[in-house]
């Protein structure tokens, strides 16, 4: 019973935050307050007719399109909202990692299944980008888990009672934020859906499919931001307010930062991003893990 309620609360919170992110994004893009734009766009997509390409692989497209929001929501299941998560798994950090690599599958499947060039190019681009961001991302998660001595997200939160991990693991936190942008193919890492390939992966999606894809992308960005809170920003800890409201405040802050950064930073080609991650971020985050290991010992 309690879990059902928690799951409903989680879904509602993700929906509201993702819609908020979309509204903020639209406002930044338009240069004015455009809170209604995403809702209008959603309504328009709901009544738009599906466009069909020649010989699409319909089952794979369905798996890909519905998979994107699904993995985002499943990844969020281990994140505590206030005190408790929907599923407080003993290896929650690994679960989070396992679900978010599902994005690779979703994007490549969409790119492949519509049988069109630009989406396929976008899908391949995301795989290349995935190879770049995944290792630093994993090491960033590991440094938080190492600092807590546990893979349970609740233990990671508990370990930050004295000092937030973001403060004494700044490198891991920075790497996590960069990989969060890459994971949600957002801002500087948006080559998979870049304008130079006519919108990339979702180029041939129309109607409700496109709506689900866009909703999935904003949900993914929301979940990536929400995960930074228990892993690096002390979870629900904070003065005066109850834990759930601190979790919410911090999530909104990280989410706003990521959305804003997406509008301020230029796109990086994924081969250059690859060089940067493997030559700079991986050594940096490995050194961070060494430091964390010494401190923990």
């Amino acid at each position: 019973m309690g879990e059902t309620v928690a799951a409903v609360v989680l879904l509602a919170a993700l929906a509201v935050l993702a819609a908020g992110a979309a509204a903020f994004d639209a406002s930044l893009a338009a240069g004015r307050v455009a809170i209604g734009d995403p809702l209008r766009e959603a309504a328009r997509l709901l009544v738009t007719q599906r466009r069909r390409t020649l010989l699409p692989d319909a089952p794979l497209r369905r798996i890909g399109v519905s998979g994107l929001p699904l993995v985002a929501v499943l990844a969020a299941a281990v994140l505590p909202m206030g005190e408790h998560a929907v599923a407080d798994l003993p290896v929650g950090v690994v679960w989070f990692n396992g679900m978010e690599v599902g994005v690779w599958g979703a994007l490549w499947l969409i790119g492949w299944s519509v049988n069109s060039v630009y989406p396929l190019v976008g899908g391949y681009r995301f795989l290349a980008q995935g190879l770049a961001y995944e290792l630093p991302h994993m090491f960033a998660l590991i440094s938080a888990a190492l600092g807590a001595g546990s893979l349970r997200v609740a233990d990671v939160v508990a370990a930050q009672r004295g000092l937030w991990f973001a403060v004494w693991m700044p490198v891991a936190f920075a790497v996590y934020l960069i990989s969060a942008l890459a994971m949600a193919f957002w801002g500087p890492m948006n080559q998979a859906v870049g304008p130079d390939v006519a919108g990339g992966v979702p180029a041939e999606l129309s109607g409700p499919d496109r709506l689900v894809f866009q909703a999935g992308r904003y949900t993914l960005l929301t979940v990536a931001s929400a995960a930074a809170v228990p892993l690096f920003l002390g979870g629900g800890a904070g003065p005066a307010l109850p834990p759930w409201s601190w979790t919410l405040v911090k999530t909104v802050a990280v989410l706003a930062l990521l959305v804003w950064a997406g509008h301020r930073l230029p796109t990086i080609r994924m081969d250059r991003f690859m060089a940067a991650t493997w030559l700079v971020l991986i050594p940096a985050v490995l050194l961070q893990i060494l430091v964390v290991g010494i401190v923990v010992l």
């Binding site: 692989d57 794979l60 003993p90 290896v91 690599v101 490549w108 995935g130």
Partner: protein, 180 residues
Amino acid sequence: MTAQVVAFWTLAAVAVASGVAVFVTGSMARATFALLASLLAAGLTFLLIDLQYLSFLIIVMMVMEMLIMAVYMVMYMMNPAGLMPMTMVHNRRGAVLIASAVFVLLAVGVLLTPWPARRGAPPPDPTRQLGLSVMGPRMLVMIVIGVAILATMVAAIVLATDRGRYDRSGDEHDRWGRAT
């Protein structure tokens, strides 16, 4: 207990059925994702025997592995989307016979062998047991794996690349691919 039995046999059926589907479907994308489904279903059975960490580890590794595999499958198949009917097998009957014989042999062995009774009980936290083991008595295994990974990375790149270190991005380009 019954819920576990149902879950196990459902996952087992999915694992074997999608394993068979890999060699039935003509589309390489479908074959790769069928294999992924088989690997994930097999990995999820580990949740029934307390191996949460390994189960999720299998999910992480296999999703990434199969997606990279998909790239090569599409690259090296004549008919990656399976849109033209063609056969890519040889000696199908012999293969079916040998595979069936292998299965019958293994199954008979599985059912007839008097398996030893369980010694001891699973620890409360198998992940901790695994971690302590690979950082303690079984550390040599991890060291060997580490060297094998490094050797594979070097060997695979040497085999696959057609360029040396001085022409990474072709003539007239620096090492970052910028025109000079």
